[in-house]
Amino acid sequence: MIRRGRRKLLLPQHSVLKFIKFLALLIITVPTSQSILIAAEIHEPMRPYWSFEGPLGKFERASLQRGYQVYTEVCSGCHSMDLLSYRNLIQPGGPEFSEKQAKAMAAMFEVETGPDQDGEMFMRSAILSDKFVSPWENEQQARAANGGAYPPDLSVIVKARPNGADYIYSLLLGYKDAPEGTELDDGVYYNEYAKGMRIAMPQVLYEDGVEYTDSTAASEEQMAHDVTTFLTWSAEPKLEERKRMGFKVIIYLLILAFLFYFTNKSIWRDTH
């Protein structure tokens, strides 16, 4: 009886080994070809802990809420977030403000709408269905106010930069005094993580630059961490749903594959 059990085990190992080789081939070739694609010229960014990383990662709700505060009080002076609506702030998987809070947040902004019955455009307070109000009328106005530079829209910025969240976090904290002998043009700042160490955005995060409503101490690192978390959510608002679903799907597929493996084995048992 023991001998039979042994023979049974030997057969699958052979084909499993073949499969492992094939998987290894895939795993080796795919990521290496990708890492080549990422431009290597950028200063290697810091790698802080992010709660949303990993297969079961989730956003930290309080951090998202603080991050929204940093965005509105600091970033939104120059950067738009055209793809977001105020209603997104109450959706599951996001900052999850209460409807009342989000309505109040929207109402702090004015939007032009209309035309009314007389054909006139008019201003009203923003409501949940409105997109985030842009600081600029158009790109030209933004450039004129920023010495020719155009502050990019932040909606998907985390997905639009290599190293995503790590890069944004590092960039926000990367302002240093320029080393001696470095020539900087007017309106250009020295930043370790920017391409060519130069960036048109000045340092914006200073200790206690924001007074958090949840009375968290507003260190530069805290603010950078919170606003980057917020921007990661805005780039990938379905991240939590995606990872949750992925976990279930993969477990389901594993069980099914397991069943099919043994079905296959039993079907081929008598074929030599």
């Binding site: 499969f19 895939l26 998907v156 997905k159 679903m245 992925g246 799907v249 296959n264 079907i267 030599h272």
Partner: protein, 417 residues
């Protein structure tokens, strides 16, 4: 396909008498005699069918929400990601599905090259396959343009500009393709239309591919013909249906890994920046699956020459059945070919690596050598090998090497330690 299927129920009889669909499926998907020694490299045909169907279904739903307009395309994709129910799911499957499709097709082709599946009497299966590959390249390229990010726009600009290399008519042809004087909405709209059309043409070719396959039947790892009416074959169902499903499930687990846990790994970050005709990205790189051919394009200092070489690199595949002069199919019995096969594969991967590097300095020189080798393999090595190689003796039937292995194992077991 011969089948002993007899419809049983009244409904089945009624249908089958008027249109023998059930008989057809029974013959081709169930009783179809398949060599019993196919390994897991043979499961990629089924996997590719799954890829095609998945792309068509997800693409269909995406097309319901996508807007093919230069001003709206980018935000319509984000609308899918944010506001459409499970839109993120569909789009990530579709985007990663293209990569998975190419992983599978490259493995499928590599298997065919190794076991000589393109040789007589299977030349047409292979040639139809080359056309499918060509259509896949066109479809994937146009699909990558649709989100209208920076890489979409500049990729489209680089590739459509290649047509301007055509002597005399180049510029007129390019302007005709663009529907204007630069890449913009007219091009995006026609790319969308063609991106929607081509998968159905691929589907048609796949039917021909399978039809042509089912005339001589599958090749197999031994590369020899099956002995008719022998123990060499097993019915397709359940033996290969279940085996293919198992392989497909493993493939799907990897696929799901990408979709759910690292959905943007295979894409380029620049494609999350809306297309901007005034700002050229630092490096314009195509999707990873085009990199070897991109390297060949850039290896040639002349634009027209580069285009010709790139097209030839794919076109030459269609002539493979006649370039390979050896009568022995499987590399198992071709010791010399086997070495050159791995060198060719390594060289192809090297080209892929080079395609991702900037076209300067040492990279250009290596690209040229690798490009030359790619063609030398087909034009010189393969034809010559058929004449000089001393192949190993072929087994008489598929059952023979299997039995021999068993006998050997039995001997080894009884041999004193």
């Amino acid at each position: 396909m011969s089948t002993d299927y007899k419809p049983q129920s009244a409904v089945a009889k009624w249908i089958d008498k008027r249109l023998p669909l059930i008989t057809l499926f029974n013959g081709h998907l169930m009783q179809y005699p398949t060599p019993k020694n196919l390994n897991y490299w043979w499961t990629f045909g089924g996997i590719l069918t799954f890829c095609l169907v998945t792309q068509i279904i997800t693409g269909l739903v995406l097309a319901m929400h996508y807007i093919a307009d230069a001003d709206l395309a980018f935000s319509s994709v984000e609308h899918i990601m944010r506001d459409v129910n499970y839109g993120w799911f569909l789009r990530y499957i579709h985007a990663n599905g293209a990569s998975m499709f190419f992983i599978a097709v490259y493995i499928h082709m590599a298997r065919s090259l190794f076991y000589g599946s393109y040789k007589e009497p299977r030349e047409l299966i292979w040639i139809i396959g080359v056309f499918i590959f060509l259509l896949m390249i066109a479809t994937a390229f146009m699909g990558y343009v649709l989100p209208w990010g920076q890489m979409s726009f500049w990729g489209a600009t680089v590739i459509t500009n290649l047509f301007s290399a055509i002597p005399v008519f180049g510029e007129s042809i390019t302007n005709w393709l663009w529907g204007g004087y630069s890449v913009g909405s007219p091009l995006l709209t026609r790319f969308f239309t063609l991106h929607y059309l081509l998968p159905f043409l691929i589907f048609g070719l796949v039917i021909l591919h399978v039809w042509a396959l089912h005339v001589p039947g599958n090749n197999n790892p031994e590369g020899i013909d099956v002995v008719q009416g022998s123990q060499d074959t097993v019915p397709f169902h359940p033996h290969y249906v279940v085996k293919d499903v198992f392989a497909l499930l493993v493939f799907m687990i990897i696929f799901a890994g990408f979709v759910f846990f690292t959905p943007n790994l295979l894409g380029h970050t620049d494609n999350y920046i809306q297309a901007n005709p005034l700002q050229t990205p630092e490096h314009i790189v195509p999707e990873w699956y085009f990199l070897p051919f991109y390297a060949i394009l850039r290896a040639i200092p002349d634009k027209l020459g580069g285009v010709i070489m790139m097209v030839s690199a794919i076109a030459i595949l269609a002539f493979l059945p006649w370039l390979d002069t050896s009568k022995v199919r499987s590399a198992k019995y071709r010791p010399l070919f086997r070495q050159f096969y791995w060198i060719f594969l390594a060289n192809f991967l090297l080209l892929g690596y080079l395609g991702a590097q900037p076209a300067e300095g040492i990279y250009v020189i290596i690209s040229r050598i690798a490009t030359i080798y790619y063609f030398v393999h087909f034009i010189i090595i393969l034809p010559v090998l058929g004449f000089v190689e001393k192949t190993k003796p072929l087994p008489k039937s598929i059952s023979e090497p299997v039995l021999n292995d068993k006998e050997r194992a039995a001997k080894a077991a009884t041999a004193p330690a």
